[in-house]
Symmetry: C2
Amino acid sequence: MALIVQKFGGTSVGSIERIEAVADLVVKTKQQGHQVVVVLSAMSGETNRLINLAKQIDSRPSSRELDVLLSTGEQVSIALLAMAIIKRGHSAVSLLADQVNILTDNMFGKARVEEVAATRLKHELEHNRIAIIAGFQGRDIEGNVTTLGRGGTDTSAVEIAGAIKADECQIYTDVDGVYTTDPRVEPNARRLSHVTFAEMLELASLGAKVLHIRSVESAGKHNVPLRVLSSFKPDEGTLISFEESDVTSNVVSGIAFNRDECLIKVHGMPQGTKHLAKVLKLFADNGIEIDMINQINHKVEKVDYAFTVHLNDYLNALDLLTAEQQQFDAHAIDGLTNVAKVSAVGMGMKSHSGVASLFFDSLAQENIDVMFVATSEIKISVLIDEKYLELAVRALHKTFLTENE
Amino acid sequence: MALIVQKFGGTSVGSIERIEAVADLVVKTKQQGHQVVVVLSAMSGETNRLINLAKQIDSRPSSRELDVLLSTGEQVSIALLAMAIIKRGHSAVSLLADQVNILTDNMFGKARVEEVAATRLKHELEHNRIAIIAGFQGRDIEGNVTTLGRGGTDTSAVEIAGAIKADECQIYTDVDGVYTTDPRVEPNARRLSHVTFAEMLELASLGAKVLHIRSVESAGKHNVPLRVLSSFKPDEGTLISFEESDVTSNVVSGIAFNRDECLIKVHGMPQGTKHLAKVLKLFADNGIEIDMINQINHKVEKVDYAFTVHLNDYLNALDLLTAEQQQFDAHAIDGLTNVAKVSAVGMGMKSHSGVASLFFDSLAQENIDVMFVATSEIKISVLIDEKYLELAVRALHKTFLTENE
């Protein structure tokens, strides 16, 4: 008997038929002898319907009241699922954030979970009930309703799993696991049976469609094994845990990529960390996150700096730098949007040498130039011309991940 | 400066436009220097939408979970109204049942309010905020969500007004007050500027469309003056309080009527209270409420009993009595559905004699026979053939309530 948390997203509970299917799945897990806690999102479309009502009143509605409004979405889905499970002859109880004491900070719309009390949940499980909890929502210390923002229900599920020391937190979604790369780019992409938390964090740009990065971080922190599976055709899915797989012999677990990065260059600035610090402060003060940073020394006294930022911040970043160009004593400022980042990620890199060599060889054979390199213990990332992205992904996948027949 | 509770029903918040209009009305009251607490129903149609979702899953859904589901309706309307008021530059805060500590018993779907804590509300009012509370819902001692059933939001408003010792509880609805009788039957019906709680309870069959009887009882218990007004064209409406009006000189305040009563007769039963008690126990055990009871002595040893029951209970009551006819030693059992009850209600009856005489004179002049009579200190009710109902109402209204030009 295991203690299992099952999280179902909006499309998984998007209609009465889907809710009935989820009820069958939950009951099946219970009948296998497990204790089950379920965490739900709102029915798909419901959150947008509610936001639309709010926008009709105020284009920038009160964030406190928006959270009160949006949190009704999950309340509806948990009540309906509880009814469906009860109809199947099992005990079930729906629980709201205040009933399980999901304590968050008071950042309405993007609150962070501070604590989940296990007492009430343990009580329900001891009485053989299936507990069905509203995801995405919490209460601050004053009892105000809060919501957790994007990917919030994943975070709820992981925090709850951590609080009750669940054996596994299963994330049911509309894809059936984490893949070696995006199958739309590389038809030979394979589903991974297992990845580590460290790999999953690096694979976030792949996993973003599957798991919100914050929930992966939380799962790592609480040491709760995560499993990503499809609610439409549930099978083994992909397990994410601290243990390194001894089954897969791949050095590299996945090829991730990101089309949303842009390159910004500041030419001919005076050398010295204090000048770079000024530029970085300007970005930080304006909420612009930098992914990669590069420094090119031309002469003794002058350097070029290159940064990558998200496409959404590109124009803003260029404007800010241009306005301060004189203060920075920079020769010129320019940028590129038609770039993309491609990365190879794998725990095996730590112990296997020669990965970087194979990586650049693969790209060189396709005549793909690299503008930028960034590495970590388990990752190599490069920035390339966006038009070569698919080619680069396929080349790297073939080198590291395509199994020999 | 007064402390005012304003309650708005489903049609009053039935659309974004209506919510905007309510926001204007609330803000206007605030600007007049009053402290305002608002209690809302769900947007009209929303509760039915939610019930329909539940019924798709289970024709008899779990009552606990149905309450979790239905309570989202009010949560949506309070958040939207708070947004609309904040947009108008005033401070407002939406509050759920658990945030105001509306404690109820655990009768899901028809819970009774046991206590409302004034602390949180007083705190919001002291900080100059408009408090907007979800009506219709509460929490039991274990923190489960409960709902109050039919007319629940009126009850919420009155209980809250009682807890904070409000100067007035205003019930905004789609009619503009309490009338001397139904204007669809008697075009000369006038709106009453003032009635007493005692009269309002007797006028319930008129007031049922306006106020739920339980909320009138609660208002009387807490001694909170109630005012019924239209949210579509707000004016003075009708005030309901303990004070007797010294403005209106009418002995009778209103003519109430009810088409939903039926007559049941048990013929030729043995005399004696114990036999009647058996019949009454049969009704009570089966949840059938009796309105009027009459006893007709034919001979020394045999009596006929007549009862009136609600139309919904008529067939059930007849079946039950027929099944037990032998045990009751009754000669025959029959009934009539084409009957109606008409009543004259007024505090003035206590001190004015001759009301009964005028009452029966009016009916006699129209050749209307009376089957049944019941009286209280402030009411005379009779049961008549349903086909004479409108005629009886007009005749009585003319006698007691039509003002001389």
